[in-house]
Subunit: 475 residues, 2 copies
């Protein structure tokens, strides 16, 4: 087997990178749980027909087949389940890997609705897969960390205010390790739809999709596309661009939108409702997370299931990375006909965030192994004694390892040094006096960074708390 | 969308089941890290040719294809990458889902060998997929928790003693929540191979595979199969069964095997080496984890890459569930031609364990939500005050939620009760005296289990530690 090479779009971290990712995941989970979100996981595979309900992401889905069902494959049975074309006909039986955690969550809610209590708040931290072309910050396999709350039949608006604030707190808890400040950009689908319809534009989804390209292609090309593809007049296209340019973190935003609508001579109940919600969101956020939430009227979000607030989040100074935490309110994603479960949620793109933290050298782990203490081995006959010291330390919650071989101590210290293990433990030496009396000296522990070495008892000694476990710190 | 139904072989837990699984995962991870195992994750997808190197599991692999490459599928482009047969030809480009964590780990070690320090100890907790027919305790998607240590070129034998003891400790740490005692059954490939070759049997893999079926088909059929399929005489077959019947937790086992070999008139260097290792393992285990490790000469393990110790683990009283933690020593799994990385590892079948814990009602979570305190809302105008109380509690590490609506308090208490939230918080009531003076009473917190209600300050009050987070306890 030749040395394997990485697979583009499938990121993997070395152990010290994984320490960073694990810290991010643990921090997010803790904040979510402090806010009462129950953790769940859903299976990675969903029926293909469920995954394809929303047409626009269909090309990104990875389809699963069992090897023996793949014609011509080694171990495959050509006669078994027919050709690829036949199999595609049985769409309801085919499985694909989930491409987000929202669609599987909606399915989970419907499947278990009789056993859950609503409103149901859950967090979900899992890998998802998309067969897209890999780019900087865009992967084929990546970790998402989601929070959602769904109600049975109804869901109060206040959750649309609270959920981005939970995310602000979760991401804010990462500031101390060196994660840049975040800016949560919010908009409201009702504002956009009310405004477009008030202007006389009917293809609301088309306008949203075009406006969503603003950062990528710029206003001139967006205006052209609005005219060419959504039937807008140049004046209507300009009005859409004027709306998209409005941005601010207080209720002045609401006044600007109202004034813009008035200048085009229309009012709209839907617009008013959206503006009331958007205004309440920025006002509450200004109190609870000052400076974090900004109303930005160009935020559109690609997915068509959002019906109220929508959110995107940028790392300040890394805006070109794209959103690291997005979501919104959806009213009809989970519905079994008889009952509908409206929800609101956001999803952190953990892999995108972590790859930037590591790639830009913003953060580092103090070491890549859990071990705080390496217990040296003087000779293989005494390995059991070293094992006993390590066991005593571990029983007291101190991560300890034992040297792999009874090499000379210099080599054992290098073993620790190479891994960033701060302490090496030496058992007391036997000395034999002239009259044959055997005495055993005290154990000693050496801080290999300072070289300081002191007598120590494994039942009592502990490393300084900052050395106990690997930490993640600003680089 | 009709109500969806579960997918056979893809287990999912309700929130309280996930509390149990998360506790198991956190406990395993903590024990692994106390022993110095660094956590890593590998991508879920591997090149198909890598996954199929070991022929016997080939039928279990799930093959991935991007939707647009599936002929005839919606959104598919028939002209794109040809038919299934053509694609199967480009085996090196095809991806499959990993079916264990050992093969991907071997690939990770080779890929990153220049950046890792050896011996390298890692733990890895991830989902794996196998397209097998689902049965009790056998899933198509399941979580494994692995520990392995690999050396560069060499790996000292003592790790074959230590790794099962780490697992004994990790699984032992679950006893307090109600997990049954475990028994780790050990054998050594060298013993089996030395014995079979000493008898004159050359098809060692064939004999191992047949012996592996003992529990399933019984000794008579195994004897027949040994004669029919491996060219054994009835006497040789009986000798293999005699070896497989040897079992014990001290070095008496070694003496029995030696005596059996002597009775068949042969000695074997390989056998002696294997017996020395097996004897050292049971002796060390008798000291460090009394009663847990048992030498059982019928343990064969299906996988052909094991070269030394092999392990299986049963839950006492649930032996028919099969092994919940298996592994062994492998010398050549990771090799790039120039260098070889021998290793030893074990893998906990977390989903199998957790499904038994939940299905047999052995354990339960004290609640399915993290929330310890529900802050009541007297009316929507005062929601911000309830939010502030919850924020104060959370800042002190107390998981708190706020009632979804300002329903009457009885309904808010039922909200908490249905979720197992032990405490409900009521803000102090405003009272207006006859002369118009407004006074605000103290906040109160109610233990809804006892009904006891006391004055409380959110900056000071804390729930009893056993109520702070959901716990997992014997059912």
């Amino acid at each position: 087997m030749a040395r394997p090479t990485p697979l583009s779009g499938f990121p993997e971290w070395l152990p010290d990178g994984r320490v960073v990712e694990q810290h991010v995941l643990d921090t997010l989970r803790r904040t979510f749980e402090l806010h009462g979100f129950a953790g769940i996981e859903t299976r990675a595979a969903e029926p293909l027909d469920q995954l394809l309900r929303k047409g626009e992401t269909s090309k990104e889905v990875y389809v699963l087949s069992r090897l023996q069902d793949v014609p011509g494959a080694q171990g495959g049975d050509d006669a078994a389940e027919g050709t690829g074309t036949d199999r595609a006909g049985a769409r309801d039986k085919q499985l694909g890997l989930h491409f987000d955690l929202t669609v599987p969550f909606a399915r989970y809610v419907l499947e278990n609705s009789g056993k859950l209590s609503f409103p149901f708040k859950r967090h979900q931290i899992q890998k998802v897969w998309r067969g897209e072309r890999p780019q900087d910050g865009r992967f084929r396999e990546f970790v998402q960390a989601d929070i959602d709350v769904v109600g049975a039949g109804t869901l109060p608006y206040h959750y649309e205010v609270e959920l981005p604030l939970v995310m602000a707190e979760a991401l804010g808890a990462l500031r101390e390790i060196g994660v840049p400040e975040v800016r949560i950009l919010v908009n409201n689908r009702r504002v956009a739809e009310g405004f477009y319809r008030g202007l006389g534009l009917e293809d609301v989804d088309g306008v949203l999709r075009t406006i969503d390209k603003l950062d990528k292609i710029g206003p001139a090309k967006v205006a052209d596309a609005l005219v060419a593809e959504t039937g807008a007049t140049p004046e209507q296209a300009q009005a859409c661009l004027d709306l998209a340019a409005i941005r601010g973190s207080d209720s002045g935003v609401v006044d600007q939108v109202r004034a813009l609508a008035a200048s085009h001579g229309f009012t709209s109940e839907l617009l008013d409702q959206g503006l009331e919600e958007l205004g309440a969101l920025v006002e509450a956020a200004a109190v609870r997370a000052p400076g974090v939430v900004v109303a930005d009227l160009k935020i559109a979000r690609g997915l068509d299931y959002y019906t109220g607030s929508v959110y995107e989040t940028v790392l300040v100074g890394h805006e070109q990375l794209g959103s690291i935490c997005s979501g919104g309110r959806y009213d009809t994603l989970a519905s079994d006909g008889a009952n509908t479960y409206p929800g609101v949620g956001l999803s952190v793109g953990v892999s995108r965030l972590v790859s930037r933290l590591l790639g830009s050298g913003l953060v580092r782990a103090t070491r890549g192994v859990p071990t705080a203490v390496l217990v040296a081995v003087s000779d293989e006959e005494h390995r059991a004694q070293s094992d006993a010291v390590a066991a005593t330390l571990r029983a007291r919650g101190i991560p300890a390892d034992v040297a792999p071989t009874a090499a000379r101590f210099g080599k054992q210290i290098r073993y620790a040094d190479r891994r960033g293990i701060p302490f090496v433990w030496f058992e007391g030496r036997e000395t034999v006096s002239d009259d044959g009396q055997v005495t055993v000296g005290a154990d000693q522990v050496k801080d290999i960074r300072s070289g300081e070495q002191v007598d120590a008892d494994p039942a009592v000694w502990a490393p300084p708390s900052e050395d106990l476990w690997p930490r993640v710190v600003p680089a």
